[in-house]
Symmetry: C2
Subunit: 123 residues, 2 copies
DNA sequence: CTGAATCAGGGTGGTACCGCGAAGCTTCGT
DNA sequence: ACGAAGCTTCGCGGTACCACCCTGATTCAG
Protein backbone atom coordinates (compact mmCIF):
# COMPACT_ATOMS: atom_id res chain seq x y z
CA UNK A 1 0.00 0.00 0.00
CA UNK A 2 2.53 2.51 -1.15
CA UNK A 3 1.78 6.21 -1.12
CA UNK A 4 3.93 6.69 -4.15
CA UNK A 5 2.86 7.66 -7.61
CA UNK A 6 4.83 7.18 -10.75
CA UNK A 7 6.14 10.70 -10.97
CA UNK A 8 9.87 10.96 -10.90
CA UNK A 9 10.39 13.43 -8.11
CA UNK A 10 14.11 13.55 -7.31
CA UNK A 11 15.80 16.49 -9.04
CA UNK A 12 12.38 17.43 -10.32
CA UNK A 13 12.67 15.63 -13.61
CA UNK A 14 9.09 14.84 -14.37
CA UNK A 15 6.40 15.63 -16.84
CA UNK A 16 3.01 17.06 -16.10
CA UNK A 17 0.65 14.28 -16.94
CA UNK A 18 -2.39 15.90 -15.40
CA UNK A 19 -4.62 15.10 -18.33
CA UNK A 20 -2.85 12.00 -19.55
CA UNK A 21 -3.82 8.50 -18.59
CA UNK A 22 -1.89 6.59 -15.98
CA UNK A 23 -0.04 4.37 -18.37
CA UNK A 24 1.59 7.30 -20.09
CA UNK A 25 3.31 7.93 -16.79
CA UNK A 26 4.41 4.35 -16.66
CA UNK A 27 5.85 4.47 -20.15
CA UNK A 28 7.60 7.72 -19.49
CA UNK A 29 8.99 6.25 -16.32
CA UNK A 30 10.25 3.07 -17.91
CA UNK A 31 11.41 4.89 -21.01
CA UNK A 32 13.68 7.11 -19.02
CA UNK A 33 17.16 6.08 -19.91
CA UNK A 34 18.57 3.15 -17.89
CA UNK A 35 15.44 2.59 -15.83
CA UNK A 36 14.29 -0.36 -17.88
CA UNK A 37 17.75 -1.83 -17.82
CA UNK A 38 18.12 -1.44 -14.06
CA UNK A 39 14.78 -3.09 -13.39
CA UNK A 40 15.60 -5.86 -15.81
CA UNK A 41 18.90 -6.64 -14.12
CA UNK A 42 17.21 -6.71 -10.72
CA UNK A 43 14.45 -8.94 -12.06
CA UNK A 44 16.86 -11.38 -13.60
CA UNK A 45 19.66 -11.42 -11.05
CA UNK A 46 18.04 -10.45 -7.78
CA UNK A 47 19.28 -7.85 -5.30
CA UNK A 48 22.43 -6.06 -6.34
CA UNK A 49 25.01 -3.83 -4.81
CA UNK A 50 25.71 -0.47 -6.31
CA UNK A 51 28.99 -1.51 -7.84
CA UNK A 52 27.44 -4.65 -9.33
CA UNK A 53 24.75 -2.62 -11.03
CA UNK A 54 27.35 -0.14 -12.21
CA UNK A 55 29.40 -3.01 -13.56
CA UNK A 56 26.47 -4.60 -15.38
CA UNK A 57 25.39 -1.31 -16.93
CA UNK A 58 28.82 0.03 -17.79
CA UNK A 59 27.67 2.84 -20.06
CA UNK A 60 25.68 4.46 -17.28
CA UNK A 61 27.84 6.74 -15.17
CA UNK A 62 27.78 6.59 -11.37
CA UNK A 63 26.18 9.98 -11.30
CA UNK A 64 23.25 8.94 -13.39
CA UNK A 65 22.96 5.53 -11.74
CA UNK A 66 22.59 7.13 -8.31
CA UNK A 67 19.99 9.46 -9.72
CA UNK A 68 17.97 6.64 -11.22
CA UNK A 69 18.18 4.51 -8.10
CA UNK A 70 16.89 7.36 -5.99
CA UNK A 71 14.02 7.92 -8.37
CA UNK A 72 13.19 4.24 -8.40
CA UNK A 73 13.26 4.18 -4.61
CA UNK A 74 11.14 7.31 -4.38
CA UNK A 75 8.61 5.69 -6.65
CA UNK A 76 8.50 2.59 -4.51
CA UNK A 77 9.87 0.29 -7.17
CA UNK A 78 13.03 -0.65 -5.34
CA UNK A 79 14.27 -0.49 -1.77
CA UNK A 80 17.72 0.34 -0.54
CA UNK A 81 18.66 -2.07 2.19
CA UNK A 82 21.57 -1.47 4.49
CA UNK A 83 22.99 -4.16 6.69
CA UNK A 84 24.36 -2.21 9.63
CA UNK A 85 26.70 -4.95 10.78
CA UNK A 86 28.73 -5.40 7.64
CA UNK A 87 27.83 -2.07 6.08
CA UNK A 88 26.57 -3.68 2.93
CA UNK A 89 24.08 -1.82 0.74
CA UNK A 90 21.78 -3.70 -1.56
CA UNK A 91 19.07 -2.62 -3.92
CA UNK A 92 16.16 -4.93 -4.45
CA UNK A 93 12.78 -4.76 -6.06
CA UNK A 94 9.62 -4.22 -4.06
CA UNK A 95 6.50 -6.10 -5.04
CA UNK A 96 5.52 -3.10 -7.12
CA UNK A 97 8.82 -3.53 -8.89
CA UNK A 98 8.56 -7.29 -9.21
CA UNK A 99 5.29 -6.91 -11.02
CA UNK A 100 7.01 -5.18 -13.88
CA UNK A 101 7.95 -8.63 -15.05
CA UNK A 102 4.85 -9.01 -17.23
CA UNK A 103 5.63 -5.75 -18.97
CA UNK A 104 9.25 -6.77 -19.35
CA UNK A 105 8.24 -10.09 -20.85
CA UNK A 106 5.93 -8.41 -23.35
CA UNK A 107 8.53 -5.87 -24.33
CA UNK A 108 11.19 -8.54 -24.69
CA UNK A 109 8.87 -10.55 -26.90
CA UNK A 110 8.08 -7.60 -29.11
CA UNK A 111 11.67 -6.50 -29.32
CA UNK A 112 12.95 -9.94 -30.21
CA UNK A 113 10.36 -10.21 -32.93
CA UNK A 114 10.68 -6.82 -34.57
CA UNK A 115 14.17 -5.63 -33.94
CA UNK A 116 16.37 -5.38 -37.02
CA UNK A 117 20.02 -4.38 -36.82
CA UNK A 118 21.02 -1.15 -38.54
CA UNK A 119 24.00 1.17 -38.74
CA UNK A 120 23.86 1.72 -35.02
CA UNK A 121 24.82 -1.91 -34.41
CA UNK A 122 28.06 -1.86 -36.32
CA UNK A 123 30.35 -0.33 -33.77
CA UNK B 1 9.74 -8.09 -43.22
CA UNK B 2 10.34 -4.47 -42.48
CA UNK B 3 13.76 -2.95 -42.88
CA UNK B 4 13.06 -0.62 -40.02
CA UNK B 5 14.68 -0.60 -36.64
CA UNK B 6 13.37 1.06 -33.56
CA UNK B 7 15.53 4.12 -33.74
CA UNK B 8 13.66 7.35 -33.98
CA UNK B 9 15.29 8.90 -37.00
CA UNK B 10 13.27 11.98 -38.01
CA UNK B 11 14.81 15.13 -36.57
CA UNK B 12 17.54 12.90 -35.12
CA UNK B 13 16.04 12.51 -31.71
CA UNK B 14 17.51 9.19 -30.72
CA UNK B 15 19.81 7.69 -28.18
CA UNK B 16 22.88 5.63 -28.79
CA UNK B 17 21.92 2.19 -27.64
CA UNK B 18 24.88 0.41 -29.19
CA UNK B 19 25.63 -1.64 -26.11
CA UNK B 20 22.15 -1.78 -24.69
CA UNK B 21 19.72 -4.59 -25.28
CA UNK B 22 16.94 -4.29 -27.78
CA UNK B 23 14.19 -3.71 -25.30
CA UNK B 24 15.82 -0.58 -23.99
CA UNK B 25 15.21 0.82 -27.46
CA UNK B 26 11.61 -0.23 -27.28
CA UNK B 27 11.10 1.42 -23.92
CA UNK B 28 12.77 4.57 -25.01
CA UNK B 29 10.60 4.60 -28.09
CA UNK B 30 7.35 4.03 -26.24
CA UNK B 31 8.38 6.30 -23.41
CA UNK B 32 8.86 9.21 -25.72
CA UNK B 33 6.15 11.65 -24.88
CA UNK B 34 2.82 11.00 -26.64
CA UNK B 35 3.95 7.87 -28.49
CA UNK B 36 2.26 5.50 -26.09
CA UNK B 37 -0.88 7.57 -26.17
CA UNK B 38 -0.98 7.74 -29.94
CA UNK B 39 -0.55 4.00 -30.29
CA UNK B 40 -3.16 3.39 -27.63
CA UNK B 41 -5.72 5.55 -29.37
CA UNK B 42 -5.08 3.81 -32.67
CA UNK B 43 -5.32 0.42 -30.98
CA UNK B 44 -8.60 1.23 -29.31
CA UNK B 45 -10.33 3.29 -31.95
CA UNK B 46 -8.84 2.16 -35.22
CA UNK B 47 -7.54 4.39 -38.02
CA UNK B 48 -7.74 8.09 -37.29
CA UNK B 49 -7.45 11.33 -39.15
CA UNK B 50 -4.94 13.90 -38.03
CA UNK B 51 -7.52 16.17 -36.53
CA UNK B 52 -9.14 13.31 -34.65
CA UNK B 53 -5.84 12.35 -33.08
CA UNK B 54 -5.14 15.97 -32.26
CA UNK B 55 -8.57 16.22 -30.69
CA UNK B 56 -8.14 13.08 -28.61
CA UNK B 57 -4.71 14.13 -27.38
CA UNK B 58 -5.44 17.80 -26.78
CA UNK B 59 -2.33 18.56 -24.77
CA UNK B 60 -0.04 17.52 -27.61
CA UNK B 61 0.54 20.39 -30.00
CA UNK B 62 0.14 19.94 -33.73
CA UNK B 63 3.83 20.44 -34.19
CA UNK B 64 4.75 17.60 -31.88
CA UNK B 65 1.98 15.35 -33.16
CA UNK B 66 3.22 15.66 -36.71
CA UNK B 67 6.71 14.83 -35.51
CA UNK B 68 5.59 11.76 -33.60
CA UNK B 69 3.49 10.49 -36.48
CA UNK B 70 6.46 10.80 -38.83
CA UNK B 71 8.66 8.92 -36.42
CA UNK B 72 6.08 6.22 -35.95
CA UNK B 73 5.75 5.88 -39.71
CA UNK B 74 9.51 5.82 -40.17
CA UNK B 75 9.72 3.04 -37.63
CA UNK B 76 7.08 1.04 -39.43
CA UNK B 77 4.58 1.19 -36.61
CA UNK B 78 1.92 3.14 -38.47
CA UNK B 79 1.11 3.95 -42.07
CA UNK B 80 -0.19 7.18 -43.51
CA UNK B 81 -2.89 6.33 -46.02
CA UNK B 82 -4.24 8.81 -48.50
CA UNK B 83 -7.43 8.23 -50.42
CA UNK B 84 -6.89 10.13 -53.67
CA UNK B 85 -10.57 10.34 -54.57
CA UNK B 86 -11.86 12.07 -51.48
CA UNK B 87 -8.50 13.42 -50.34
CA UNK B 88 -8.81 11.79 -46.94
CA UNK B 89 -5.71 11.10 -44.87
CA UNK B 90 -5.74 8.41 -42.26
CA UNK B 91 -3.16 6.97 -39.91
CA UNK B 92 -3.42 3.31 -39.03
CA UNK B 93 -1.30 0.73 -37.29
CA UNK B 94 0.78 -1.79 -39.19
CA UNK B 95 1.03 -5.33 -37.89
CA UNK B 96 4.18 -4.30 -36.08
CA UNK B 97 2.11 -1.61 -34.44
CA UNK B 98 -0.85 -3.85 -33.71
CA UNK B 99 1.40 -6.19 -31.79
CA UNK B 100 2.06 -3.54 -29.20
CA UNK B 101 -1.24 -4.55 -27.73
CA UNK B 102 0.28 -7.11 -25.37
CA UNK B 103 2.64 -4.50 -24.03
CA UNK B 104 -0.19 -2.02 -23.73
CA UNK B 105 -2.30 -4.52 -21.83
CA UNK B 106 0.52 -5.27 -19.40
CA UNK B 107 1.23 -1.60 -18.85
CA UNK B 108 -2.43 -0.83 -18.36
CA UNK B 109 -2.71 -3.63 -15.82
CA UNK B 110 0.31 -2.45 -13.90
CA UNK B 111 -0.75 1.18 -13.99
CA UNK B 112 -4.28 0.45 -12.84
CA UNK B 113 -2.93 -1.58 -9.96
CA UNK B 114 -0.21 0.70 -8.71
CA UNK B 115 -1.17 4.19 -9.63
CA UNK B 116 -1.98 6.44 -6.70
CA UNK B 117 -3.17 10.02 -7.18
CA UNK B 118 -0.96 12.77 -5.82
CA UNK B 119 -0.63 16.53 -5.99
CA UNK B 120 -0.27 16.40 -9.72
CA UNK B 121 -3.83 15.13 -10.05
CA UNK B 122 -5.55 18.01 -8.33
CA UNK B 123 -5.69 20.50 -11.13
C1' DC C 1 -17.91 33.62 -57.93
C1' DT C 2 -16.47 35.11 -53.40
C1' DG C 3 -15.37 34.43 -48.86
C1' DA C 4 -15.02 31.65 -44.85
C1' DA C 5 -13.78 27.52 -42.64
C1' DT C 6 -11.59 23.22 -42.04
C1' DC C 7 -7.61 20.01 -42.62
C1' DA C 8 -2.79 18.85 -42.56
C1' DG C 9 0.85 20.38 -41.58
C1' DG C 10 5.72 23.82 -41.78
C1' DG C 11 8.92 27.58 -39.62
C1' DT C 12 10.75 30.03 -35.96
C1' DG C 13 12.18 30.91 -31.60
C1' DG C 14 12.67 30.08 -26.72
C1' DT C 15 13.21 27.63 -22.41
C1' DA C 16 13.41 23.97 -19.41
C1' DC C 17 15.52 19.95 -18.46
C1' DC C 18 17.74 15.44 -19.44
C1' DG C 19 21.83 13.03 -19.49
C1' DC C 20 26.57 13.39 -18.72
C1' DG C 21 31.72 13.87 -17.02
C1' DA C 22 34.81 15.29 -13.59
C1' DA C 23 35.98 15.70 -9.26
C1' DG C 24 35.42 15.78 -4.27
C1' DC C 25 33.68 13.84 0.03
C1' DT C 26 32.59 10.49 3.72
C1' DT C 27 32.59 6.11 5.73
C1' DC C 28 34.40 1.71 6.21
C1' DG C 29 37.84 -2.18 6.15
C1' DT C 30 42.52 -3.43 6.89
C1' DA D 1 47.22 5.41 5.92
C1' DC D 2 45.18 4.01 1.97
C1' DG D 3 41.87 2.38 -1.08
C1' DA D 4 37.25 1.06 -2.26
C1' DA D 5 32.19 1.79 -2.04
C1' DG D 6 28.63 4.91 -2.29
C1' DC D 7 27.29 8.85 -3.02
C1' DT D 8 27.24 14.47 -3.81
C1' DT D 9 28.17 18.98 -5.98
C1' DC D 10 29.13 21.75 -9.99
C1' DG D 11 28.46 22.87 -14.33
C1' DC D 12 27.82 21.94 -19.26
C1' DG D 13 25.67 20.87 -24.12
C1' DG D 14 22.10 19.37 -26.66
C1' DT D 15 17.39 18.68 -27.57
C1' DA D 16 12.63 17.80 -26.50
C1' DC D 17 8.68 20.17 -26.04
C1' DC D 18 5.94 23.95 -26.67
C1' DA D 19 3.58 28.54 -28.25
C1' DC D 20 2.70 31.24 -31.94
C1' DC D 21 2.12 32.16 -36.50
C1' DC D 22 1.94 30.88 -41.43
C1' DT D 23 0.81 28.13 -45.70
C1' DG D 24 -1.65 25.48 -49.29
C1' DA D 25 -5.34 22.61 -50.39
C1' DT D 26 -10.01 21.52 -50.14
C1' DT D 27 -14.87 22.21 -48.86
C1' DC D 28 -18.95 24.79 -47.94
C1' DA D 29 -22.26 28.85 -47.62
C1' DG D 30 -24.57 32.24 -50.05
Amino acid sequence: MQMMSSQTKPEEGGVDFALCPRFEQTFSFLGKKWNGLIIDVLLQEGPQRFKDLAHKIPRCSDRVLVERLKELEYNGVIVRRTFPDNSLIEYELTQKGEEFKDIMAAVHAWSDKWYCPTEADQK
